[in-house]
Symmetry: C2
Subunit: 171 residues, 2 copies
């Protein structure tokens, strides 16, 4: 996988402890059957308990628990609304923190569209101003995308567990 001619050094453990790795923390908090699907619904603008339930097909108890957890995590906000003269109800909306999951989720969508599906993506992300289609990429601070081959990484010295270990190859 690596492109040096040397044999890959064998990595026996992750270089970063799980409780200090944002990736691991995110994976742990989103890692179950329903949580990410709930957030997807939220992005599509579905906010009400019963709509979520029918759309997802999740059991009420589970949905209730996941919503509670997401509110507790600051991803969703439960807030009241009134439709006509109906009594006050509550809807679940993305907080700013939740909205910032858009990028990971869009990246996941691109991956899923490419690898888990034959049809082209039914959802196009594009620029309001220019109409150009958009994709997810790694960019410099100035906002210029760089090609895969130019990407590498380093572990901050004070958190290293095992010595430097090159990622197999960044996609």
């Amino acid at each position: 996988m690596s492109n040096s001619g040397l044999p890959d050094p064998v990595v026996r453990a992750a270089p970063i402890p799980r409780d200090r790795c944002g990736m691991a923390l995110a994976c742990e908090m989103l890692g179950d059957r329903w949580t990410m699907l709930v957030i997807r619904e939220a992005f599509y603008g579905v906010t009400r308990f019963d709509d979520l339930r029918t759309d997802l097909g999740a059991p009420r108890g589970i949905l209730s628990a996941r919503l509670k957890a997401l509110v507790a995590a600051g991803v969703l906000e439960r807030h009241p609304y009134r439709e006509g003269k109906a009594r006050v109800r509550h809807e679940y909306r993305l907080t700013r923190r939740g909205q910032e999951l858009a990028l990971p989720l869009i990246a996941l969508m691109e991956w899923g569209d490419r690898h888990l599906q034959d049809a082209p993506s039914p959802l196009q992300i594009y620029s309001k101003a220019s109409g150009a289609p958009l994709r997810v990429a790694l960019v410099t601070p100035e906002g210029q995308a760089v090609p895969r081959e130019d990407v590498t990484y380093a572990v901050a010295e004070d958190t290293i567990i095992s010595a430097k270990a090159p990622l197999p190859r960044l996609a």
Copy 2:
């Protein structure tokens, strides 16, 4: 959430069926306690069953099942290696398909580092050529990042379930 002056139209269901939505498909395949953590280990270069097991703390049976599923999904590849004169063993490596999960996972890492942790990220992604730190963004086909406010989306007409529904706001 929307920035038009109009009240948000109430969305009662996702505009795209789950079995045609790359995001939903990806969420379903990665959505459990261990799968994403296994892929994270793979990115860090941990490839052997027992290393994965000790690093993750997952029960053997579960790890075995997840690895099988990931191999079946074409994310990992089980292939033989020989260390010294030891007998042939097998290691699990990311396929190209697996490598392409780097972007979603890095985006997730950025999110996790920002919201689930106080310390700065222990892992820096940067450009080999310029040394500039890199971040995940939405870019035009030419590779120019666009600001959040310029991002919108549309559902392909032949797959729409409910009518057009604006994302609350893209982060």
